[in-house]
Subunit: 203 residues, 2 copies
């Protein structure tokens, strides 16, 4: 079976979003990141800002571990848990319907049973990421470090709560690269090549 | 600064050792795996079999966490801890002396402060690894699964004890690949290419 879906997980500032777009372009398939936020907003009463903020980052209301199979009544769930259920359903439907690249939102976990997915993770050293977000968002170097640390921590907790797994474990991804060392272009080039090779030998 | 040392960490049966050899060949540098065991045997009174067995796998005598900086008298250490200290010193010296590929033995952690190292990790699905060790070592499929599970567990405990880190975390490696999906040849090709690129831009 060939690869139809590529999930892209990434540390904040590693360039994962840019790499995801490049992979989609190279493969000529759709790319879902902000587009997912809009879809989620359409299917819920939640504001896009809230979805951006809580769709990947732990909020203080999260408990120890969330088990989707135990949820019967969505209305009784906390707002972050409701959001996760909506994200889960949209991502599952999307994977069923079209070839695409999906950024973040525990898609690697949500789609882990599918055989047609390639799961990727991009990370980089603090200095590389701080420099990048300083350039992109115009922050000071010091506030960049603080922001990165906070983002990493919140994503780790969010991921652990919804998946039970450690965020960033190599074994959960087919390809994990340090984008600072490998280079953003080269990361995208390699992933696209692996997908093309896998699809060529599956034909 | 260019890349002089490549450390290769790997799940048992993932082909990491073969990939390491291929990387060394492609780069025209030395490769240390069994060669390390021989060096360690020469510098200690330990048998090669014991070094092979305990140099990467937890033994029952290991405690909670080993701290190299607290050790003043090697003779008072347990045998596995003495072995670790010897391995540590040999790997540190090796990195100082020559360009090479080093397989396993916590080399990624031991050399983590050096800027001239590329750290890699190879893993693969159980089925791929079981098939591989069945072919290589002539085991039955069932005993292969049991052996893999036991090896994974012992390596995880050993690594945690000597490094304090989780074995397989993407952030500890520049490149982590599923060799079953990417292909053993392609893994080696990619790593060698990244090293060559990094060294070309460092010139």
């Amino acid at each position: 079976m060939g690869i139809r879906i590529i999930t892209v997980s990434r540390e904040f500032g590693s360039g994962g979003r840019t790499i995801a777009k490049m992979i989609a372009n190279r493969l000529g398939i759709n790319y879902y990141d902000k587009e997912l936020v809009t879809k989620i907003a359409q299917e819920s009463d939640l504001a896009e800002d809230y979805i951006e903020e809580c769709g990947e980052y732990a909020s203080t209301t999260n408990g120890v571990f969330f088990n989707l199979t135990n949820t019967t009544d969505n209305a009784k769930l906390s707002l972050p848990d409701q959001l996760y259920v909506i994200q889960h359903n949209i991502i599952t439907d999307l994977a069923e319907r079209e070839r695409c690249v999906i950024v973040g939102r525990c898609a690697d976990f949500i789609l882990k049973e599918r055989k047609d997915c390639l799961h990727t993770f991009f990370h980089a050293d603090m200095a590389f990421r701080a420099k990048r977000i300083t350039q992109l968002y115009g922050e000071t170097e010091l506030s960049s470090f603080q922001r990165l640390e906070e983002k990493d921590k919140k994503r780790t907790i969010h991921y652990k709560y919804y998946t039970g797994r450690e965020w960033g474990m190599s074994q959960n991804y087919h390809i994990s690269l340090n984008s600072g060392l490998v280079g953003i272009n080269k990361c995208a080039e390699f992933v696209a090549k692996v997908v093309k090779n896998a699809n060529a030998s599956a034909d």
